[in-house]
Each structure stands twice: as C-alpha cells, then as structure tokens.
C-alpha cells in the first residue's frame, strides 16, 4: 500500500471515529457554522466534539505547519482529507476569515512572532477576525481609501469608516487597511491588526435587500493602534506603507473563495434536483425552462472541470496568477443564474418571504443575496478589466 493510500485509510477511520453523524448534514443556517472566537458558543454537543477533535488533530487548518496549529499535510494529503470529508458530507469544523484570509497573509508576510501568536489562536478557534477593506467611497477602487492613521511614534491614531465588514459586530479583531501616507496612492497604505474592543471602534449592521446580512459599517474614532504587541509581534503585517502588497495577495485568496471552489456545489448542476422540486409542487418542468436548466448544467459542469483544472495547475505552480479573477467572474455570474432558475422552478412558492415551507423565505433571500456575488470582492467589471490587462495584455486607455 502506498503512503497516500495508507493515509486515506487512516483518515477514513479517524473521520469515522470523530465526526458525529449530526455533523455530516448540509449546513442549513448560520447556527450550523462554527466561527470560534472569544464569545463563541456551540449549537450542540456534536458541534463541540467535532470542533475539538479536529482542532487537536490540526484539521481546522490541515495544511498549515504543525508549529502553528496545523497538521502539516502535504498538498496530496490535504486533497485526500478534503475528498474523504466530502465523501461523508462532513461540515467544516471551524469557519473563519482568519483561516481563509489572514492566515495565508501571515504565512507569507508575517514575522515569526506573529505566526506563533496569531496562527495558533486562529487554528484553535480562539480568535475571530473581520476584514476592514472597503469604505463608503472606495469599493472596487480600493486604493482610493481615506481612513487615516496618524503616526504618533509607538502607535497610530486611526480615524475613518469601513463598510461591508462581514460579521464586524461578532469579531474579536480586525485586519484593516489604513492610509498612512496621503501623498502616495499605492505605497501609502499599512495593513494593521487591532482589537475590536479598542476604545473608539463601533459597528452597525447593514440591512440588505435579502432582509438580513452579515455586513456592518465599522467606525473608527481616534482608535489607538500600537505598532507592536510584544517582541517580534508588530501591529501590522508586512512593511509600513506597503500594505497594498499584502492586500493584493489576500484579494487573490478572497476571489478564489468566492468563486466557489471549495464547496463547488454553488455552481454545480441543478437540473435533476429542480425536476424533483417541480414534481413535488405538482407540476412538470415547462419545456423551455427545462432547456434553460440543461444549458445551465452544461455551463455549470464545464465550470466544475475548470475549477478542478485551476486547482491542479495552482498546486503544480502552473497557470496565470490572474486566473482567480476569471474564476471569480464566471463563478459568481453562474451562481446568480443558478438562483434565478431556482426561483423560476419554485414559482410562487419561492416568493414566500417567511413561511415554514421555505425555511423562512430561503429561496428569495438566497436569490437576492447572490446579487452581491458579482459586486463583493471586486465587481465583475473589475475582474474583466484585470483579465484584459494582465492576461490578454490589451493596451491601457
């Protein structure tokens, strides 16, 4: 038996022993997702047991090095773990922006001290992070941001406002882009880290067209951000005034995430499920709607192949660095189309805003939520700009 095959057997046994049956169900609502952090509570014992087992094994962040709380898995082993988890439908034991976004940035740009402290806290689910990028006047044009940190020697005094900060009201710390040099558009931004409980930080949820939202506005009013949290633990990532490099790297990760590569089912084929749903509603699929579903499924299955190819190429260090932009563009446009079709198949039932049958209006709320997919993390138009400049090398205007 090869090492990998042995690893697969071992993983299968470990999952069998440690992933409770309740944790092998699809995620139905926010409570099914465990985000960790200072004020975290578990929905039930199964969620707690699954999280703790995964944490102790390093499986909250399987491919991070062991000294930072991970399991140190090779890419091939991590793929096997993903496959085995998806085979039994296991939920992620811990979801967090720390894992998806800050972690990769710290692994690349962080000091040893930052890695020891923050990566371990993230891996153990002890800290919940939010991301402070966008501002009311700068969405996709991120570098036009105005939030300013005035240099006071050993600390900055930060003033300004962030918007679309997901779960800011529930987060412990924020990783935040702050302008530290007003004269330099790109090389005047610092990537700061600070506690959301700091004096002067306040948050306000934003209600969206879907009727709910994880998003907040975050206000910073004379917030004191230390330049250091101890020996080799700076209060910023990378270099002062060079935070854009970190942000760009992170945006790449965000785009990969939003393009739905991890789960894949956001863009996968829906035709057969929609036929069952239509049948349940006592109706057949309209032939024209059926053909729309079939054409969607062609695109969705082809995109699934693209996602697989993209992952394979990334692992092998092939492929174009701007390719995540293409994945983000196509993935989010597909997801919008998918929910339009799901609304159509559901018919009037899918219009119900809060009935029990619709799980509190899920079809319409999800449909409305997807409209943000091609706006958040860089609009589709910005993605197309990036493709044309960086991949097709079309001339600038």
């Amino acid at each position: 038996m090869s090492d990998l095959e042995a690893f697969r057997q071992e993983t299968r046994q470990w999952l069998e022993a440690n992933c409770p049956p309740e944790m092998r169900q699809p995620v139905r609502d926010d409570e099914d997702v465990y985000w960790g952090g200072r004020n975290a509570t578990f929905k039930n014992d199964a969620q707690k047991a699954w999280f703790e087992a995964a944490r102790d094994k390093g499986y909250t962040v399987p491919s991070w090095p062991k000294e930072y709380g991970g399991a140190g898995l090779s890419p091939a082993e991590a793929k096997i773990l993903r496959q085995e988890m998806s085979r039994i439908g296991a939920r992620p034991p811990l979801s967090s922006f720390g894992i998806w976004m800050l972690g990769p940035a710290l692994l690349k740009f962080g000091t040893e001290g930052q890695k020891q402290r923050f990566l371990n806290e993230i891996a153990r689910g002890e800290i919940r992070w939010c991301q402070g990028y966008s501002e009311p006047g700068s969405g996709s044009d991120l570098v036009s941001m105005q939030t300013f940190g005035e240099d006071k020697g050993d600390h900055w005094v930060v003033n300004g406002q962030k918007i679309w900060t997901s779960y800011a009201d529930k987060a412990d710390w924020i990783f935040c882009l702050v302008r530290t040099d007003k004269d330099n558009k790109y090389q005047g931004i610092t990537f700061m880290l600070f506690d959301m409980a700091s004096e002067g930080v306040s948050t306000k949820p934003i209600l969206l067209i879907s009727g709910n939202s994880p998003f907040c506005e975050t206000f910073m009013d004379d917030v004191k951000v230390p330049k250091s949290y101890g020996e080799d633990v700076p209060g910023y990532v990378g270099e002062i005034n060079r935070g854009w490099d970190v942000a760009k790297y992170l945006l790449g990760h965000e785009r990969e995430m939003i393009s739905g590569m991890g789960g894949g089912d956001r863009t996968a084929a829906i035709g057969s499920a929609m036929k069952r749903l239509a049948g349940k509603n006592g109706d057949d699929l309209d032939p024209v709607l059926r053909s729309e579903l079939a054409l969607f499924d062609v695109d969705a299955l082809a995109f699934t192949a693209m996602a697989e190819k993209f992952m394979d190429e990334m692992k092998a260090g092939k492929g174009h660095p701007a390719q995540p932009n293409m994945m983000k563009y196509v993935g989010t446009e597909l997801n919008k189309r998918r929910h339009e079709l799901m609304m159509s198949v559901g018919g009037s039932r899918s219009l119900e805003w809060e009935s029990e049958e619709t799980g509190g209006g899920k079809p319409s709320r999800n449909w409305l939520r997807t409209k943000a997919n091609s706006i958040e993390g860089g609009t589709s138009e910005v993605m197309l700009n990036v493709i044309s400049k960086r991949i097709l090398e079309l001339p600038g205007s």
Partner: protein, 379 residues
C-alpha cells in the same frame, strides 16, 4: 490525474503545434485545396506526412500496429488541426473509424488498419440520415442475403464519403426504426457495387456526400462486432468522435480568439488602439473565460474517456455543447471585432466562422447535447 498535459503530452503538443503550423496552415492547405476546387477537400500528401509523424494510428492498439495512445493525445493533434483549420481525415478516420475497428475481427483490422496507419487510406462514417444528428433513429436496412447482407437506404452528410476507401455504416438488421437494439455496423469498401455518392461542398469547403445503398451486397465478414449488437460500438464511436470534435472546436476557438486579440492590439480607430476601448476589452475577457472553460471540460472528458469512466458519456456531451457555445462566440466576436475586413474572403477570420459552423453540426449541436445532458441526468 491532474487536468493538464504531462511531460510526454507536452512534448507531443510542441511537435503537433509546429508541424501543423508549418505543414497544415491555412495558406498551404485549406486555401490551396479550396481554390483548386479539390474534389476531396483535403490533401493526401499531408495525410501521408501525418502518418510519418505517427498521428494517423495514435488510437490504434499497439498489437494492431498503432501507438496505443489515448484521447488526450488525439485531442492534442485535433486542437492543432482546429487552430490551423487543417482539412484532413483525422477525425473521421483516426478517431471515429479507428474506434469502430477496435471492435472488428482480426480479419477486418488486418484489411484496413495498415492503410490507415500508413496514411494511404481514408475512412468515412455514415451515421446520419437527416440534416440534424439523430443517431437514435436508424432506418437504413441490412437484410440477410446468402452468407452476407444486402444494404438498402441512404445516409446524409457523410464527411469525405466519396474520397473514402471504406465507410463505417450503421444499419438496422432487426427491429423498428427507433429501436435501441438491432443495429449492426458494417465496413463497406469503396468499390462496393450499387453504392452511389452525391457529393456536396459544405460552407467550410469540406466535401460531404449523400450516399445511397441500393441493395449493396456485403460479405458476412464486413460486420464490425456482432450482428444486432452495433449500438454499443456506435455509442463508443460517437463518444470518441464528440470528444474529438470538441478538441478540434477548442482549436478553432483559440485560433479565432488569438487572431482577434492580436488585431485589438494593432488596429487604430478614433486615434486609439481599439483594444483600449473598455467595451471591447470586456467582451474579449468574457470570450477568454469561455474558451478557457471549454478547454478545461475537453481535457476532463478526454481523461474520463481514457480511464473508461462511466461519466465519460455525460462529460462528452457537456464538452461538445460547451465548445459549440464558446467557439461560436469566438468566431462571431472575431468577425465583429475585425469590422469590415472580417467580412472579406482574403482575411482568415471568416474561415474560422465557417469551420466552426460545420463542427457545431457534426455529431450533434449544442442543443442536442444539452438535451442529452438533461436526459443522462434524469430530467
């Protein structure tokens, strides 16, 4: 298996790319034969050269004298054929007919495969009977007659039918027109009596025939596989052909797209390079995305087919449909973005549009395959 070419396949791709660009390019092949009104629509010299390169027998098993390669490898050659619009019998002979002959007797293999591998023979496949691809319905009949069969009926749009040394013909030996069972495949030699070809030139300058079988007498050993058991072989042949056509389509799409992107970087209007206009940039970027996705699903389908996976059939239809859409977009945007020059015969972009149209129809268009995706998915 990762979804990109391994080292050997990359080497093959380099070889195929330079060979086809040098020997199979538009001026040397497509325009050359078209402008001479060539009755075959392709050059036998190039076919011979392709044999010397080892392309013709790629999918033929080693024990039968071929290279025993897979659909990923055949797809590499097909993509370059598509990119250069190279007219050749590769898809019909080396992919479709070769797949059918895998199931043939050693006699049949011995009779036909050496010619294919040497680039001496050309094969055609006669499946369709109507203007749209409907392989579920086969009305051409082969009735038992002595030790052999008598073939009656007609086939439409047989690509290179008149130039072929042998035609693989799907005929009904039992049952009614729509039956799944009762199909038999025959290897019909070129000189069979009572077979006639009505040749037509298609929009892409390729030659097809409406072929009539008016009591064509065939020996019993013309049967490929089992009598009444041809549907499975036919399906295998169609799946291989569809994946192959998709690979060629990706080549057409990339050829058209590359020409167009180059043009956006050269052509000036209103005092600017037209590639500076965001309206065109966004369309070009969208086009790039679609073509990339089409490439991905084609290699996925090729690998599944080579692995013998059950999902190869579904993915072959996804690939054929996706490529039809993506390549269709590539040629339409190509002609539009070239403006007036794109409408001229002298400029190549229009040739891509013509070839794409023919490839879209060949073995089922996007609608046929989307419908098949729905059926295979149970809706």
């Amino acid at each position: 298996m990762p979804l990109y070419h391994d080292e050997d396949q990359t080497m093959l791709a380099d070889t195929a790319t330079s060979f086809m660009a040098e020997e199979g390019n538009i001026a040397k092949q497509l325009r050359h034969w078209r402008d001479r009104n060539c009755k075959d629509g392709f050059g036998h010299g190039l076919w011979k050269q392709m044999a010397e390169m080892g392309f013709t027998g790629m999918l033929v098993d080693e024990e039968d004298g071929g290279l025993g390669m897979g659909h990923v490898e055949a797809g590499i050659v097909l993509e370059e054929i598509g990119r250069n619009l190279t007219p050749s019998p590769f898809l019909t002979s080396s992919v479709l007919a070769a797949t059918a002959l895998k199931h043939g007797s050693s006699d049949l293999k011995g009779r036909y495969l050496p010619g294919l591998i040497e680039g001496e023979s050309v094969f055609a496949v006669a499946i369709d009977e109507t203007a749209k691809h409907r392989p579920s319905r086969i009305t051409t009949r082969a009735e038992k007659s002595g030790n052999g069969f008598k073939l009656t009926g007609s086939k439409s749009f047989v690509i290179q039918g008149a130039s072929a040394d042998m035609l693989v013909v799907a005929a009904r030996t039992s049952g009614s027109d729509e039956d799944e069972d009762g199909i038999t495949l025959f290897a019909v030699p070129k000189d069979a009596a009572n077979m006639s070809h009505d040749a037509v030139r298609l929009v892409d300058s390729s030659m097809a025939t409406h072929t009539k079988f008016d009591g064509v007498e065939l020996d019993g050993d013309a049967v490929i596989g089992e009598v009444d058991g041809g549907r499975e072989i036919l399906n295998a042949m169609l799946t291989a052909g569809r994946v192959g056509a998709a690979a060629e389509g990706v080549g057409v799409a990339r050829g058209a797209m590359d020409m167009t992107i180059d043009y956006l970087k050269q052509r000036k209007q209103f005092g600017k390079l037209i590639g500076e206009f965001q309206a065109l940039q966004h369309r070009a970027s969208h086009l790039y995305s679609e073509v990339e996705i089409a490439r991905a699903v084609v290699i996925k389908a090729q690998q599944l087919l080579d692995e013998g996976a059950e999902s190869a059939e579904l993915m072959s239809s996804v690939a054929k449909a996706k490529v039809a859409k993506a390549a269709g977009l590539a040629v339409k945007e190509g002609v539009q973005m070239h403006g007036g020059i794109g409408m001229t015969d002298e400029y190549d972009i229009g040739l891509y549009m013509k070839r794409d149209r023919a490839l879209q129809e060949f073995l089922g268009d996007a609608y046929f395959h989307a419908n098949r995706v729905a059926e295979l998915s149970g809706y």
